[in-house]
């Protein structure tokens, strides 16, 4: 079984490029050039240099001793939270800004939910001196004020998405519309492993540095490259894609994807796409998405803005359908408790997204000798207000 994208842009039955003709020239240009550009030695050199000197890679692979003792298994945390800007998102924006420059683009647009991808995009635009416009749902702007301020300080223009539900899905629509209206000078930096081909594959490849590092780091710790499990939370699925990438075809490595159940799978307030979703088309690709019987895309819910997306990337839809990955869902409450537990046991305040992944240890029993590598995709600074309100701190 192949879990990578095929030459037509599909992962099994998922993927493709279902885009209006207005976007065809841009997406086609990217499709023809992305692999070639990424393979160029000077691109590789610049990308790796920035990941090292600017982002601070490699991010540590940390053996979480007290957490491991509590759950009686061996837990390693891949510390993406220690990256510059506080999450894995920067890996992709560094890659895409270098891509945009090589394609001769002078204007960058992006969508953002919680603001992490927006901040990571504004950061690299400042670094490269390119104009940056970030679309963000009106509701998200109100609940993520610190990140809005960060983007502005970094020189970006933040435009509220006022259509539809005024959240991530609508910010994505607005960014796509901007691209339609500015077809020549603009590159759209998609923040997750979603969108029309080649975006899911390109984003995955930029994030694949996560699993590349895990391999050699685990070898140092455990004397073997492959863990028994890799675990990541999944909204659109970019940190998950990067965490799994080099293990996709290693059959002895089990893959766990953790979705946000919100208030509960059957509560009507959830973002557990693998359970509640059905095959359809969202933002230019065929994948699993939450929708009405009639094919209208529905509004997901999660306490975590980064997991609050009605679809999953097409690669993940394929991993789900083929059974390669085990999908678990975690409620707001379970995630918040797991987040607080990591603070107390390890002295690390995780992003609420990552807290969803941490919560699986309450649900699933691992063997004492199992090596579990979990992607700690982001730090909790941005979520302080949420933690404060939730725990009445």
């Amino acid at each position: 079984m192949n879990y990578n994208v095929n030459e037509k842009g599909y992962y099994g039955e998922f993927g493709g490029a279902y885009i209006p003709e207005m976007l065809y020239p841009n997406v086609e240009e990217l499709r023809q050039k992305y692999l070639k550009v990424m393979a160029e030695p000077d691109f590789q050199k610049e990308f790796n240099q920035l990941l090292k000197d600017y982002v601070g890679r490699p991010s540590p692979l940390y053996f979480a001793k007290r957490l491991s003792e509590k759950y009686n298994t061996k837990i390693y945390l891949k510390r993406e939270d220690l990256n510059h800007t506080g999450a894995h998102k920067i890996n992709n924006t560094i890659g895409q800004i270098l891509m945009a420059k090589r394609l001769g683009k002078t204007r960058i647009i992006a969508e953002t939910g919680a603001g992490q991808h927006g901040v990571a995009t504004a950061t690299v635009c400042a670094l490269m001196g390119l104009e940056c416009i970030v679309y963000m749902g009106e509701i998200d702007i109100a609940r993520q004020a610190p990140n809005v301020a960060r983007m502005k300080m970094l020189g970006a223009t933040v435009i509220p998405a006022t259509s539809g539900s005024k959240t991530l899905k609508d910010a994505t629509n607005e960014a796509i519309r901007d691209w339609i209206n500015n077809p020549v000078n603009t590159h759209y930096i998609i923040g997750s492993a979603i969108g029309p081909h080649p975006y899911p594959d390109m984003v995955t490849r930029f994030q694949a540095v996560i699993s590349e590092e895990i391999k050699w780091q685990l070898k140092e710790h455990e004397g073997k490259e492959n863990p028994d499990y890799v675990v990541a939370c999944i909204g659109g699925g970019s940190n998950a894609a990067g965490t799994y990438y080099h293990f996709l075809h290693e059959e002895d490595v089990k893959i766990i994807a953790v979705e946000a159940a919100g208030l509960g799978i059957d509560s009507g307030e959830s973002a557990a796409t693998s359970v509640l979703g059905k095959e359809g088309i969202i933002h230019g690709c065929k994948t699993l998405l939450m929708q009405t019987k009639d094919g209208q895309i529905t509004e997901p819910y999660s306490i975590s803005a980064g997991l609050d997306y009605p679809g999953v990337g097409p690669m993940h839809a394929h991993l789900c359908k083929t059974g390669r990955a085990e999908f678990m869902s975690i409620t707001d409450k379970e995630a918040m408790n797991a987040g607080l537990e990591l603070c107390k046991l390890e002295g690390i305040i995780p992003a609420i997204e990552s807290s969803h992944a941490l919560a699986i240890f309450e649900q699933k029993q691992f063997n004492p000798n199992d090596v579990v590598v979990l992607s700690l995709s982001g730090r909790g600074d941005k979520d302080l207000q949420n933690y404060i309100e939730y725990f009445k701190i």
Partner: protein, 254 residues
């Protein structure tokens, strides 16, 4: 012969009007279609509303959101169109995004269209190559014409490919934009219209995006077979209701 092909043989410039089904009110659909025909419109695009209309600007987005709130669904639209051919004879096209059709079942959707007397479909997010490989035979089986878009950025080579797959007309998007974003045409558009006219395509072209009145209609049809008005009409309905249809159409074609 399909009504679209027949209409394209008329010795005149064609006016096609888009509206969003279920807007302003859920049950306005049939009234709007009948009034448009009565007032001399040549072809109608019935918009099947979608929650996430990527290629549309604010006017059509809002009308879609409202139509869905009003209770419009694929099934409801088909029910409203039941018997439409008893009163309406001009070509009718359903314009909508691909996901609702996919969920209905592409073949079932096409079969239903044929049964109701729908002549064609416009699906902005169904790319021509996917259509060609997976769906063309189904559309043809039910006598439906699928209409593709081209833009100023579409290469000549790709336009020729689209022309070869098309069997009705080509929807020529006047500028790189979402619907309703721009009004009127400049030198750049005229050059583009001329360039396309000089390609001598087998399918006639109908211009869309940026047309709102008599002046822009005349400009757009100077080098093309016809023009499509969407956002300007939806806006008129929003502001003045279905009673304003006659006034609107007269303002375009006199």
């Amino acid at each position: 012969m399909n009504r679209i092909n027949k209409k394209l043989q008329d010795n005149k410039k064609l006016l096609s009007i888009y509206f969003t089904a279920g807007y302003p009110n859920l049950n306005d659909t049939v009234t709007i279609i009948q009034d448009l025909e009565k007032n001399g419109v040549d072809m109608i695009e019935i918009g099947l509303p979608f929650s996430d209309p990527l290629a549309d600007g604010p006017t059509i987005q809002e009308s879609s959101t409202q139509a869905l709130k009003n209770g419009m669904t694929t099934e409801a639209l088909f029910n409203q169109l039941q018997g439409i051919r008893e009163t309406v004879s001009i070509p009718l096209i359903i314009m909508g995004y691909f996901n609702p059709m996919l969920q209905y079942g592409v073949e079932a959707f096409c079969e239903k269209c044929q049964e109701l007397g729908i002549d064609g479909l416009i699906i902005p997010d169904l790319p021509v190559d996917v259509y060609h490989e997976e769906y063309q035979s189904i559309f043809e089986k039910y006598g439906l014409i699928n209409v593709f878009l081209i833009t100023p950025q579409t290469s000549d080579e790709r336009i020729k490919y689209i022309d070869s797959v098309s069997n009705g007309f080509i929807y020529m998007v006047s500028s790189a934009s979402t619907t309703g974003a721009k009004s009127g045409f400049g030198e750049e558009q005229t050059q583009y219209f001329k360039r396309i006219a000089n390609l001598n395509l087998k399918n006639p072209q109908i211009v869309g995006f940026g047309i709102s009145n008599n002046q822009t209609f005349s400009q757009a049809t100077q080098y093309a077979k016809g023009a499509i008005i969407g956002s300007a009409f939806v806006k008129k309905l929003k502001e003045h209701g279905v009673g304003s249809i006659s006034e609107f159409v007269k303002g375009v074609i006199g």
